[in-house]
């Protein structure tokens, strides 16, 4: 144990300089890319107009100048890093850099045309909803010390249960409840395997994913479709009176699927429970140092059971988003690997609900942008080719690899993760 810890320590102690240099180079590259996009990729004098369905044009920016400004901001942040200035607000700077760069990209693809900005934000939020729910499921699981690569499986089985029970009881809310419970049941299996039987948690997660993929398809073909139980319909948007009438903000935040509201409620709740309650402290202790937690009277394994199941309950809701939130029916493998993007969001957000939400927004933005780009087909300068939308879909995965490799930021997982706990 100690040997390993020391080895890791020495390797990270010598790394920061090189790592910092890498980060600075990366930021400079982004800045340069934006500058190039500004000078070669946009017509001089072209403007990017952002519109709203009700209010008309909200604002219109000169594309070139905006790109130059944000590019310059990148250089500024790189400079600050180089001289280690403003280190105290580094994470704020990082996130604002990421979102500014994303916005710059948006400005570039809209240069010369217009875009419905609130609509874009809303589709980002929609895409981010299942990711956030999935990531929170992962956080509950992993903060307590159980690795969860089964978010995908839990969401998929939730999506299926939602359809089955919504049509069985003829109530979408019953479907949502069933989805959550189904996710919880899959999580319970994960917990039993990894806590009681001490199965390797990655193997156990793989099993859950396989069971969910095979089981939902099997039951769908053999039970749901023949019985005509596969089209319960989807949730209507819920309008919150008064608040939904606020221009711009109203339609984005207060006219949504129930799952979106649930996501926000759970987000606040999760953040509070994990970081501000004794229970949360005990849970985190089980994931960081189960031995110490046990010494002060925490039932580590019971804690892990409960946390994993809570995670599953949340993942199930995320699954219901896919079936009852969008299409109103079940399709094979309808979560399309979003569970793994959620895993990525969890890591990207450093096992922190708010961080995961921000990461999910970023990934959701990539998803919304990718849809937009299939319509606008912006042409990259120099190579004169439109960007294939598949490349934007890859962004979450590549960003995650970069983050776990510790090139940008550092992903610090709960220390005792993956190790079964045995009472001494």
């Amino acid at each position: 144990m100690t040997v390993q810890a020391q080895v890791v320590d020495t390797s990270t102690a010598s790394a920061p300089n090189r790592r910092d240099a890498l980060v600075i180079v990366l930021i400079l590259l982004v800045g340069t890319a934006l500058m190039v996009l500004g000078s070669l990729g946009t017509q001089a004098g072209a403007r990017s107009a952002f519109t709203d369905q009700v209010l008309g044009t909200l604002f219109s920016l000169p594309s070139q100048a905006t790109l130059y400004t944000i590019g310059a901001f990148c250089f500024l942040v790189a400079g600050l890093r180089l001289f280690r200035a403003l280190d105290s607000i580094r994470s704020v700077l990082n996130w604002s850099l990421v979102f500014m760069a994303a916005f710059a990209f948006l400005v570039w693809i809209t240069s010369g045309t217009s875009m419905n900005l609130p609509g874009m934000i809303q589709s980002t939020l929609m895409a981010a909803t299942p990711l956030t729910l999935g990531a929170m499921a992962g956080i509950f699981c992993e903060r307590s010390g159980i690795i969860n690569i089964a978010i995908e499986g839990m969401m998929l089985s939730g999506a299926f249960a939602a359809v089955a029970f919504a049509s069985l009881f003829d109530s979408l809310w019953m479907g949502l409840l069933a989805a959550s419970l189904m996710g919880g049941m899959m999580a319970a299996l994960h917990a039993v395997l990894s806590v009681k039987y001490k199965v390797d948690q990655i193997i156990s997660g793989t099993v859950i994913n396989m069971l969910a993929a095979g089981g939902t398809r099997f039951l769908n073909l053999r039970l749901l479709e023949p019985a005509g139980l596969s089209t319960p319909g989807s949730f209507d948007l819920i309008r919150i009176p008064l608040l939904a009438d606020i221009p711009i903000v109203g339609p984005i935040f207060f006219e949504n699927q129930p799952t979106v509201y649930l996501m926000f409620i759970l987000l606040v709740l999760a953040n509070f429970v994990i970081f501000a309650t004794p229970w949360g402290l005990r849970m985190r202790a089980s994931g960081e140092h189960p031995g110490a937690a046990d010494t002060v009277g925490v039932h580590v394994n019971r804690m892990r059971y409960v946390s994993v199941i809570i995670g599953g309950l949340i993942a199930g809701i995320g699954g219901a988003y896919f079936s009852l939130g969008i299409v109103g029916t079940f399709e094979d493998g309808m979560t399309r690997g979003q569970g793994f993007v959620a895993l990525a969001a969890m890591i990207f957000g450093n096992w922190n609900p708010i961080g995961a939400f921000l990461a999910a927004l970023l990934f959701g933005f990539a998803d919304a942008l990718q849809v937009k780009m299939q319509i606008l087909q912006p042409v990259l300068p120099i190579i004169n080719q439109p960007i294939p939308h598949e490349f934007l879909q890859m962004a979450p995965y590549i960003l995650t690899i970069i983050v776990v490799a510790g090139v940008v930021g550092r992903a610090i997982a709960p220390a005792a993760e993956g190790k079964p706990y045995e009472k001494q």
Partner: protein
């Protein structure tokens, strides 16, 4: 001359193998007979009992795991039958039970016939062939065994890939993506150089597929070696990068006919030849798989490099203390594991589909984790497990068309097999088995956290 001779001999050997597989109870009896014959010279029944015992003891748990999974699968089939529910709701309980068992018999019957063939038909066909009717009836009769072996070929490669990773302490969950890379590279080489002679073209395509997939997997190895990034996360993410990349390539630059999302067919010089005519699709990839399995075993257990990888896998700290480079071992292991997984795609591309189309992911990569576990990360074990899974997969198609039971039941059974193999406690409790004294079970903890 030599080529013709090899083709002729291999043709008959394969035919005999397929018939033996289709008539496996007879084959088993024959084998036991031979063993008994040997035992008369070595000390009779006690010797034979001992010989069998030492070889079968390790098989008890895996066999029970498979049987239990199949039983649960049977229950799932019985309890998801519409007719059964119909009968139950009308209060005809006896009929419901009969229907449930009928449904099960149809399903597993079809599974058997689809994967191992119908023994009666095989015997009949052999009779016809002996009476001078030609080989075609025999070929049709052994289609099941052939399909099983064909399905087991990618399983062998992918299973070996995961097993080799396990031995080096790496969890390569990215086989599915690496299969895609290998498949893609082999097919591209297959159609990009049409004029080449087979002796150059075929090996070139095979090697290209393996190396491409190996390099792709090595990304995860290098990242782990250099930064400590956990290979499970990086390989999962690399999987999805491959999926998106292939979507772009197959519906974009590599698409041959507009709207098909499929590449051009490979040149004939890159075909992995098949042993026999239609409908037997068994190809030389099977032989390649056997050779590679043997090579993997030799590499892991008979070479210095293999020892190095296994030492790092067993205890990286001890290996480091002993002066071995852990990082290099991770990179090498990931590269080799990727090569093996890539070969699974290669054989599919050059032997079966002869192109690559959108939605090529058939799940071999994810199932391969089960194979490595079931085979205890030993090449021979992986081989046996792959044959078993090949049988299941080959039979599943017929089960769906004949009995209306979706093929996914196989996936469920496989997931259950992993559970029982990974948590043998469950099996021990069910069958009241005592804990083996010293089974030599190597428990490797792969998930040392995501830690960087």
């Amino acid at each position: 001359m030599l080529v013709v001779l090899v083709a002729l001999i291999s043709k008959w050997l394969v035919l005999v193998l397929l018939v033996a597989l289709g008539l496996w109870p007879l084959t088993l009896l024959l084998a036991l007979g031979v063993l008994a014959l040997i035992s008369t010279r070595r000390g009779g029944w006690p010797w034979m009992k001992d010989w069998l015992g030492t070889r079968l003891r390790g098989l008890v748990l895996p066999a029970l795991a498979v049987v239990t999974a199949l039983i649960i699968g049977a229950l799932v089939i019985m309890f998801t039958d519409q007719m059964v529910y119909q009968a139950l709701s009308e209060g005809r309980f006896g009929e419901a039970i009969a229907l449930a068992f009928g449904s099960l018999a149809r399903a597993y019957g079809a599974l058997y016939e689809g994967s191992l063939g119908n023994p009666l038909k095989i015997l009949q066909a052999i009779g016809l062939a002996l009476s001078g009717e030609g080989l075609q009836p025999v070929l049709s009769a052994v289609r099941g065994p052939s399909d099983s072996l064909v399905q087991s070929v990618p399983y062998i490669f992918a299973g070996l890939a995961v097993a080799l990773g396990f031995r080096a302490g790496l969890f390569n969950i990215g086989a599915e993506g690496q299969i895609g890379v290998g498949w893609l590279a082999a097919v591209v080489v297959g159609f990009a150089f049409p004029g080449l002679p087979t002796v150059i073209h075929l090996p070139l395509a095979i090697v290209a597929g393996a190396v491409a997939a190996g390099l792709w997997a090595a990304i995860a190895g290098v990242l782990k070696a250099r930064t400590g990034a956990h290979e499970v996360i990086t390989t999962i993410m690399l999987n999805y990068v491959v999926f998106r990349l292939s979507e772009w390539l197959l519906c974009g630059p590599l698409e041959f006919t507009q709207g098909t999302c499929r590449t051009q067919d490979i040149a004939e010089s890159a075909y992995l030849p098949r042993f026999l005519g239609h409908p037997v699709t068994l190809h030389w990839g099977f032989v390649l798989a056997l050779i590679v399995a043997a090579l993997t075993g030799w590499f892991l257990f008979r070479t210095t490099w293999g020892f190095w990888l296994r030492t790092v896998g067993a205890n990286p700290n001890a290996a480091r203390y002993g002066g071995m480079s852990v990082g290099k071992a991770f990179t090498l292991a990931m590269f080799l594991s990727g090569c093996l997984a890539g070969l699974a795609g290669v054989v599919q591309g050059l032997g079966i589909t002869r192109n690559i189309a959108l939605g090529f992911q058939a799940g071999y990569g994810f199932d391969s984790i089960a194979l490595a576990l079931l085979g205890k990360s030993h090449p021979a074990g992986v081989l046996a497990a792959s044959l078993l899974f090949g049988v299941l997969r080959a039979g599943a198609g017929r089960m769906q068309s004949v009995a209306g039971v979706p093929t996914e039941i196989v996936q469920i059974v496989q997931a259950l097999v992993i559970i029982f193999v990974a948590a043998p406690e469950i099996i021990r409790v069910i069958y009241h088995l005592r804990k083996a004294r010293a089974e030599g079970v190597e428990v490797t903890v792969f998930s040392r956290g995501w830690g960087a």
